[in-house]
Symmetry: C2
C-alpha cells in the first residue's frame, strides 16, 4: 500500500480486501475471477494491489459475478 | 431512466438517488455540490441522470464532500 498516489485511497483498499476475501471463499484464482467478470486476466491482480481506479459499472460486474450486492464491496468487513 | 445504455445500471441509479437526496438535505445546488467535490459544474447533473460511469476515486471525493461513508452512496435508501 506504500505506492498509492491518490490522497485517500480508503475505497480502493476496501474493494481490494473484499474482492480478495470473496474470491478466496469461492476458491477462485485472480485469473478465474477476472474471467468470470469478463475482465483482462491481470485486472483482478491490479485491483487487489489498489493500483486501478475501477469504474462503478466495472464494480457492478464484479458484484454480479461474485453474487453479492455492490454495497458489500465497499463495506469494512469485520473478521 | 429510459435512455440507459448499459445492461444493469442498478449501481448508477442508487448513486444518482443518494447523491440527489444528500445534496438536497444539505441545501446544495448541483453546481454547488460539484464545486465542493472539485468536479466540473455539469458533472453532478450527469451523475443524477445516470449518464456517467464514475470511478471509485471520484465517488470517494463525493462521499468526503458530503460527509458520509462511501458505502452509503451505494445503499438502497428506505424513505
Amino acid at each position: 500500500m506504500g505506492t498509492e498516489k491518490h490522497q485517500t485511497g480508503e475505497a480502493r483498499r476496501r474493494i481490494a480486501a473484499n474482492i480478495r476475501r470473496l474470491r478466496l471463499e469461492r476458491g477462485l484464482s485472480q485469473e478465474g475471477m477476472a474471467e468470470l467478470a469478463d475482465f483482462h486476466r491481470t485486472y483482478v491482480s491490479q485491483l487487489e494491489r489498489c493500483v486501478t481506479n475501477i469504474s462503478i459499472d466495472g464494480l457492478e460486474r464484479l458484484a454480479i459475478a461474485l453474487g453479492v450486492d455492490i454495497s458489500e464491496l465497499l463495506e469494512v468487513h469485520k473478521n
